[in-house]
């Protein structure tokens, strides 16, 4: 007979692992990735590949040489995921050296300085995007048009739906909004002359990803539903008050809302740990997004809304506790 092994209970474990969750999110992003290749061609391939490779490289290098960790964490899939999400936030004509700076910020500053996976306070991909937006505002706000499959740095750029909405508010003129694609086009990503960030073009692909993640129990419904719901209601109220504000369906289908609500805000590390907390978080993000979009300097408010609420997550975790067993009054 061999040895007897001892430990404290439980002696069984479920099938869930960190890798399964991270790679599951990556699989959920595949439809959106394929769609972005279809719409943006070469540029999209170059940007995505650079971003992913850079993120993985920086995490490996920092983990090995600066933090001197025993076990390198690049295989758990989180670096690849950050790379993908960062790429989805960028225009497909961004030069490689800028992408590298973004990746360095995302992994080096936002993730590894805090201690690696599990310890970061802010969403790394969004920190990378925000840093690039502030450092290279010109390159980060000119978006290539769809359909230019062979172009990369030389792609022609155009107005995004969000910039049209911003213009309408500035002019106070609802007729400007007629230039927006129809809701169906926004859903499936059919913009003949449209432009945008790579991951934001096709809402349908992102929704397929959401369905996959819910099915595999990688995330719960609370955050995406509360964000999209809040934006819909708030934007709807504004639209009713003044038609210069776009209608709520267009609002939820444009820009980074879908990407942010489904993939960025639901990041495990930076979102609250209880269902109640997650709903509070989602509602606040939705509210802030609409405020920044309509009255802020930038046309896109999602990234900053999420980053602001990331800072509130520890506070939410501290004060919002789950429903304890035994608090329910007897009700036979």
């Amino acid at each position: 007979m061999g040895k007897l092994i001892v430990s404290l209970s439980p002696h069984a474990h479920g099938t869930d692992t960190v890798e399964r969750n991270m790679y599951g999110v990556i699989i959920a992003l595949m439809p959106a990735l394929l769609v972005s290749f279809y719409f943006f061609g070469l540029g999209s391939v170059v940007v995505t590949a650079t971003s992913v490779a850079a993120c993985v490289f920086f995490e490996w290098a920092i983990s090995k040489y600066i933090l001197k960790q025993e076990r390198n964490t690049i295989m758990d899939g989180s670096a690849i995921l950050t790379g993908l999400l960062l790429a989805f936030n960028l225009p497909s004509n961004l030069p490689i050296w800028i992408i590298l700076i973004g990746a360095l910020f995302a992994i080096g500053v936002a993730k590894m300085t805090f201690g690696g996976l599990g310890n970061n306070l802010f969403n790394p991909a969004l920190v990378g995007r925000a840093a690039l937006l502030v450092a290279f505002p010109a390159q980060m706000t000119t978006w290539p048009k769809v359909g230019q499959l062979g172009s990369y740095l030389d792609a022609e750029t155009g107005a995004t739906p969000l910039s049209i909405m911003k213009w309408a508010i500035k002019e106070g003129d609802a007729s400007v909004l007629d230039q927006l694609p129809s809701s169906l086009d926004l859903l499936i990503g059919n913009h003949p002359d449209g432009a945008g960030a790579m991951g934001e073009i096709c809402a349908l692909a992102l929704l397929i990803g959401l369905a996959y993640m819910l099915w595999k129990k990688i995330i719960t419904w609370h955050i995406p539903v509360s964000i999209i719901g809040t934006v819909f209601v708030f934007a709807g109220l504004l639209h009713l008050a003044n038609p210069a504000y776009a209608d709520p369906i267009s609002v939820i289908l444009t820009g980074g809302l879908m990407l942010g609500a489904i993939f960025m805000a639901t990041d495990y590390v930076t979102s609250p740990m209880t269902p109640k907390g997650q709903i509070i978080y989602g509602v606040a993000i939705g509210f802030l997004t609409v405020v920044i979009r309509n009255w802020g300097a930038y046309p896109e408010g999602m990234s900053f809304a999420i980053l602001i609420m990331n800072a509130f997550t520890p506070l939410i975790n501290n004060y919002v506790k789950p429903k304890r067993f035994g608090e329910v009054p007897a009700n036979k």
Binding site: G2, L4, H11, T17, P272, K323, R324, G326
Partner: protein
Amino acid sequence: MNIRTFRIGGVHPEENKLTHEAVTQVAALPKQAIFPLGQHIGAPAKPVVQKGDKVKVGTMIAEAGGFVSAPIFSSVSGTVFKIDTAIDATGYRKPVIIINVEGDEWEESIDRSDKLETVEAHPELTPEEIINRVKNAGVVGMGGACFPTFIKLTPPPTAKAECVIINAVECEPYITADFRLMMEKADEILIGLELLMKAAKVTTGYIGIETNKMPAIELLTEKCAKKFNGSAYTVEVVPLKQRYPQGGEKQLVDAVIRRQVPAPPAIPVNVGAIVQNVGTAYAVYEAVMKNKPLFERYTTVTGKKIKTPGNFLVRMGTPMKDLIDACGGMPEGDNKLLAGGPMMGKALTSIEVPICKGTNSVTVISDDEARRKEPQPCIRCAKCVGACPMGLEPYLLAKISEIQNWERAEQEEIVSCIECGSCQFTCPAHRPLLDNIRQGKSTVMGIIRSRAAAKK
């Protein structure tokens, strides 16, 4: 069929009920029976025999060591070999009584017939008499907790019992002892339930069974209807959703009567329910009606690599080695030997540990499943929060226990933890959450106790 369940948390481990169909066999008598003196919650029993004494099956060999305690009876006939120390299920050497087995002679006072004794036929059984017989027979909770039953049947003055709930859930993987007991001794169990209801002075009873035991649900529903329809008692067989830890006392009460027991020191009787394991109900029947003290029980011996797993009616004191050998022996390679199931069982360092009052299963886990994976940093996925049936935050409690911040641990209600292991089971990063929480819980309970003692 309306399937109820508890409202917060829970996980669904693989069932592995390998011995579901195995009819119970009577285990062979051991050559030497070992009786630990601490087989129950409370003070250890005190020996009343000495080396060289002759005992029969059913002779008392140790008396209760205090109020919260229970006597121990010999399950074999023979000579007391010595009173020594041996490794028991706690992993430490504890005082035991060792008896060399000779023959199988029973005490004459025990009724060994199969005749079903009904409560109607015994009007002399008042609630006090029932509780007294239960106490003298050494009946303790057979689900594993081993709390003396007679104390549970006499609630404190601040609480009023409204119903008796029989815990036949058996939510742990692998274990089928309670299921076989229900299939083979259903009538006796129902009479045991009636005795419990009479002793607790209630007229409502429930039997909670998980839906993976449909034959038992059907059998008991049919027999309950026949027995209790038109009587003073209302008994309902409640099918429950398969979910771990459905068999936890508090979760069971929540599922069956939709009341949640408040945080400790509250106990189920504070919301009106007295919960008893189905094996305890059977032991109560035998103790009260057959004058048979508690010395044998139904135990499952199982494991994926065990050659012929089975269910046994085994005399307490039998070393586990005997049962494992009867099932084909310990598998090759490194194994984990558990007293109990994989979620809450105790890993043992020796296969000679004896079967005790609370040993409902001997589970052998082999190879890869026996070892833990390397823990990774917490990724804050909050799956542990979703799994915790008590509505706690395991990631937080584990961290607080690790940094030894006992005040914060008490604030976060660490004492409510029932140590079910759902959090550690779920954690994708394989973090040893329950190891840390257990540490914190025992330290905080010690602090609370010393604070209460200092106040007096």
